[in-house]
Amino acid sequence: MTTKKMAIIATKGTLDMAYPPFILASTAAALGYEVQVFFTFYGLQLLRKDLSTVMISPLANPAMPMPVPMPVMVQMLPGMESMATMMMKQKLKKHGVASLQELRDLCLEAEVKFVACQMTVDLFEFDKSEFIDNIEYGGAATFLGFAGDTDICLFV
Protein backbone atom coordinates (compact mmCIF):
# COMPACT_ATOMS: atom_id res chain seq x y z
CA MET A 1 0.00 0.00 0.00
CA THR A 2 1.46 3.36 -0.97
CA THR A 3 1.63 6.00 1.72
CA LYS A 4 -1.10 8.61 1.47
CA LYS A 5 -0.08 12.24 1.64
CA MET A 6 -1.71 15.40 2.94
CA ALA A 7 -0.66 19.01 2.60
CA ILE A 8 -2.10 21.94 4.56
CA ILE A 9 -1.55 25.66 4.10
CA ALA A 10 -1.98 27.42 7.46
CA THR A 11 -2.55 31.14 6.97
CA LYS A 12 -4.28 32.18 10.19
CA GLY A 13 -2.69 32.96 13.52
CA THR A 14 -5.63 33.09 15.89
CA LEU A 15 -6.42 30.54 18.60
CA ASP A 16 -9.55 29.21 16.88
CA MET A 17 -7.97 28.94 13.46
CA ALA A 18 -4.83 27.32 14.83
CA TYR A 19 -6.69 24.16 15.78
CA PRO A 20 -7.81 22.76 12.39
CA PRO A 21 -4.31 22.45 10.87
CA PHE A 22 -2.80 20.91 14.00
CA ILE A 23 -5.73 18.53 14.59
CA LEU A 24 -5.85 17.34 10.99
CA ALA A 25 -2.08 17.07 10.67
CA SER A 26 -1.62 15.06 13.87
CA THR A 27 -4.57 12.78 13.10
CA ALA A 28 -3.51 12.16 9.52
CA ALA A 29 -0.03 11.29 10.76
CA ALA A 30 -1.60 8.83 13.21
CA LEU A 31 -3.46 7.26 10.29
CA GLY A 32 -0.20 6.77 8.45
CA TYR A 33 -0.24 9.78 6.15
CA GLU A 34 2.90 11.66 5.26
CA VAL A 35 1.98 15.23 6.23
CA GLN A 36 3.41 18.62 5.47
CA VAL A 37 2.08 21.94 6.76
CA PHE A 38 3.12 25.16 5.06
CA PHE A 39 2.83 28.17 7.39
CA THR A 40 2.46 31.49 5.65
CA PHE A 41 1.46 35.04 6.61
CA TYR A 42 -0.25 35.01 10.03
CA GLY A 43 0.04 31.25 10.21
CA LEU A 44 3.72 31.74 11.05
CA GLN A 45 2.68 32.78 14.56
CA LEU A 46 1.85 29.12 15.17
CA LEU A 47 5.53 28.21 14.86
CA ARG A 48 6.69 30.48 17.67
CA LYS A 49 8.36 28.80 20.60
CA ASP A 50 5.98 30.75 22.81
CA LEU A 51 2.35 30.15 21.81
CA SER A 52 0.90 32.25 24.61
CA THR A 53 0.52 35.21 22.25
CA VAL A 54 -1.93 33.27 20.06
CA MET A 55 -5.30 34.79 20.88
CA ILE A 56 -8.93 34.90 19.85
CA SER A 57 -10.99 38.05 19.40
CA PRO A 58 -14.76 38.36 19.55
CA LEU A 59 -14.40 41.43 17.30
CA ALA A 60 -15.50 40.82 13.71
CA ASN A 61 -16.24 37.27 14.81
CA PRO A 62 -20.05 37.27 15.09
CA ALA A 63 -20.27 33.47 14.99
CA MET A 64 -18.30 33.10 18.22
CA PRO A 65 -20.65 31.83 20.95
CA MET A 66 -20.62 34.29 23.85
CA PRO A 67 -21.92 33.66 27.39
CA VAL A 68 -23.90 36.90 27.11
CA PRO A 69 -24.72 38.90 23.98
CA MET A 70 -22.08 41.59 23.62
CA PRO A 71 -22.36 44.69 21.45
CA VAL A 72 -19.40 45.41 19.17
CA MET A 73 -18.82 48.67 21.07
CA VAL A 74 -18.13 46.59 24.19
CA GLN A 75 -16.03 44.00 22.37
CA MET A 76 -13.59 46.72 21.34
CA LEU A 77 -12.78 47.75 24.90
CA PRO A 78 -9.22 47.17 26.17
CA GLY A 79 -8.71 43.73 27.67
CA MET A 80 -11.62 42.09 25.87
CA GLU A 81 -9.30 40.06 23.64
CA SER A 82 -7.32 38.73 26.60
CA MET A 83 -10.54 37.91 28.41
CA ALA A 84 -12.04 36.11 25.42
CA THR A 85 -8.78 34.16 25.00
CA MET A 86 -8.71 33.19 28.65
CA MET A 87 -12.34 32.05 28.53
CA MET A 88 -11.78 30.06 25.36
CA LYS A 89 -8.73 28.33 26.82
CA GLN A 90 -10.70 27.44 29.95
CA LYS A 91 -13.48 26.04 27.81
CA LEU A 92 -11.07 23.97 25.71
CA LYS A 93 -9.44 22.59 28.84
CA LYS A 94 -12.75 21.78 30.49
CA HIS A 95 -13.81 19.76 27.46
CA GLY A 96 -10.56 17.85 27.29
CA VAL A 97 -9.38 19.47 24.07
CA ALA A 98 -5.60 19.41 23.79
CA SER A 99 -3.67 22.68 24.01
CA LEU A 100 -2.06 24.02 20.85
CA GLN A 101 1.32 23.27 22.34
CA GLU A 102 0.37 19.64 22.95
CA LEU A 103 -1.06 19.17 19.46
CA ARG A 104 1.98 20.78 17.88
CA ASP A 105 4.28 18.52 19.89
CA LEU A 106 2.25 15.48 18.81
CA CYS A 107 2.60 16.59 15.18
CA LEU A 108 6.37 16.87 15.49
CA GLU A 109 6.58 13.57 17.33
CA ALA A 110 4.66 11.96 14.45
CA GLU A 111 7.12 13.49 11.98
CA VAL A 112 4.74 16.00 10.43
CA LYS A 113 6.93 18.33 8.44
CA PHE A 114 6.52 22.04 9.14
CA VAL A 115 7.61 24.47 6.47
CA ALA A 116 7.74 28.20 7.21
CA CYS A 117 7.26 30.68 4.40
CA GLN A 118 10.59 32.44 3.93
CA MET A 119 8.95 35.39 2.17
CA THR A 120 6.69 36.03 5.19
CA VAL A 121 9.66 35.83 7.55
CA ASP A 122 11.40 38.51 5.47
CA LEU A 123 8.24 40.58 4.99
CA PHE A 124 7.47 40.92 8.69
CA GLU A 125 11.16 40.90 9.64
CA PHE A 126 10.63 37.98 11.99
CA ASP A 127 13.56 36.71 14.00
CA LYS A 128 14.03 33.03 13.19
CA SER A 129 15.31 32.39 16.72
CA GLU A 130 11.74 32.98 17.93
CA PHE A 131 10.52 29.96 15.99
CA ILE A 132 10.84 26.33 17.01
CA ASP A 133 13.95 24.59 15.71
CA ASN A 134 12.68 21.56 13.83
CA ILE A 135 11.17 23.40 10.85
CA GLU A 136 12.27 24.13 7.33
CA TYR A 137 12.06 27.37 5.41
CA GLY A 138 10.82 27.49 1.83
CA GLY A 139 8.60 29.16 -0.73
CA ALA A 140 5.59 28.43 -2.89
CA ALA A 141 7.56 26.16 -5.21
CA THR A 142 8.81 24.13 -2.25
CA PHE A 143 5.25 23.64 -1.05
CA LEU A 144 3.89 22.78 -4.49
CA GLY A 145 6.64 20.24 -4.94
CA PHE A 146 5.04 18.23 -2.15
CA ALA A 147 1.40 19.35 -2.59
CA GLY A 148 1.29 18.31 -6.25
CA ASP A 149 1.62 14.73 -5.22
CA THR A 150 -0.85 14.60 -2.33
CA ASP A 151 -4.22 12.92 -1.79
CA ILE A 152 -5.55 15.79 0.32
CA CYS A 153 -4.60 19.45 0.10
CA LEU A 154 -6.23 22.04 2.33
CA PHE A 155 -6.07 25.79 2.75
CA VAL A 156 -6.84 26.96 6.28
Binding site: S26, A30, H95
Partner: protein, 75 residues
Protein backbone atom coordinates in the same frame (compact mmCIF):
# COMPACT_ATOMS: atom_id res chain seq x y z
CA UNK B 1 -12.03 -9.96 26.73
CA UNK B 2 -8.33 -10.48 27.25
CA UNK B 3 -6.00 -7.62 26.46
CA UNK B 4 -2.28 -6.92 26.62
CA UNK B 5 -2.32 -3.21 27.32
CA UNK B 6 -4.87 -0.58 28.26
CA UNK B 7 -5.20 3.16 28.64
CA UNK B 8 -7.89 5.49 29.81
CA UNK B 9 -8.75 8.37 27.48
CA UNK B 10 -11.62 9.56 29.69
CA UNK B 11 -12.09 13.31 29.56
CA UNK B 12 -10.11 13.67 26.33
CA UNK B 13 -11.67 15.17 23.22
CA UNK B 14 -10.97 14.62 19.54
CA UNK B 15 -8.36 13.92 18.30
CA UNK B 16 -6.57 12.87 21.51
CA UNK B 17 -8.15 9.41 21.94
CA UNK B 18 -7.01 8.51 18.41
CA UNK B 19 -3.54 10.02 18.80
CA UNK B 20 -3.02 8.23 22.12
CA UNK B 21 -4.31 4.97 20.66
CA UNK B 22 -1.79 5.26 17.84
CA UNK B 23 1.00 5.92 20.36
CA UNK B 24 -0.05 3.02 22.57
CA UNK B 25 0.03 0.63 19.62
CA UNK B 26 3.57 1.57 18.63
CA UNK B 27 5.40 -0.65 21.09
CA UNK B 28 2.93 -3.53 20.93
CA UNK B 29 3.46 -6.71 18.93
CA UNK B 30 1.31 -7.83 16.04
CA UNK B 31 -1.79 -9.66 17.29
CA UNK B 32 -1.74 -8.06 20.74
CA UNK B 33 -4.92 -6.37 21.97
CA UNK B 34 -5.20 -2.83 23.30
CA UNK B 35 -8.10 -1.78 25.51
CA UNK B 36 -9.11 1.89 25.35
CA UNK B 37 -11.72 3.61 27.50
CA UNK B 38 -13.10 6.94 26.30
CA UNK B 39 -15.85 9.39 27.25
CA UNK B 40 -15.81 11.13 23.85
CA UNK B 41 -18.92 10.02 21.93
CA UNK B 42 -17.21 11.03 18.69
CA UNK B 43 -14.55 8.40 19.29
CA UNK B 44 -17.01 5.61 18.41
CA UNK B 45 -16.92 6.53 14.73
CA UNK B 46 -13.33 7.73 14.87
CA UNK B 47 -11.95 4.49 16.32
CA UNK B 48 -13.66 2.54 13.53
CA UNK B 49 -12.27 4.97 10.97
CA UNK B 50 -8.82 4.65 12.52
CA UNK B 51 -9.03 0.86 12.33
CA UNK B 52 -10.28 0.93 8.73
CA UNK B 53 -7.48 3.19 7.60
CA UNK B 54 -4.60 1.64 9.52
CA UNK B 55 -5.46 -2.03 9.09
CA UNK B 56 -5.74 -2.69 12.84
CA UNK B 57 -8.86 -4.60 13.88
CA UNK B 58 -11.49 -3.05 16.13
CA UNK B 59 -12.68 -6.20 17.87
CA UNK B 60 -15.49 -4.60 19.83
CA UNK B 61 -17.08 -1.35 20.96
CA UNK B 62 -19.19 -1.18 24.12
CA UNK B 63 -20.99 1.67 25.81
CA UNK B 64 -21.96 1.76 29.46
CA UNK B 65 -22.76 4.76 31.64
CA UNK B 66 -21.27 7.25 29.20
CA UNK B 67 -18.03 5.29 28.87
CA UNK B 68 -16.98 3.68 25.62
CA UNK B 69 -14.70 0.66 25.68
CA UNK B 70 -12.76 -0.39 22.63
CA UNK B 71 -10.64 -3.45 21.97
CA UNK B 72 -8.15 -2.92 19.17
CA UNK B 73 -6.04 -5.73 17.82
CA UNK B 74 -2.76 -4.65 16.31
CA UNK B 75 -2.21 -5.80 12.74
Amino acid sequence: MNFDKEFDASGMSCPLPILKTKKALVDMASGQVLKVVSTDSGSVKDMQAFADQTGNSLLSTDEANGKYTFYMKKK
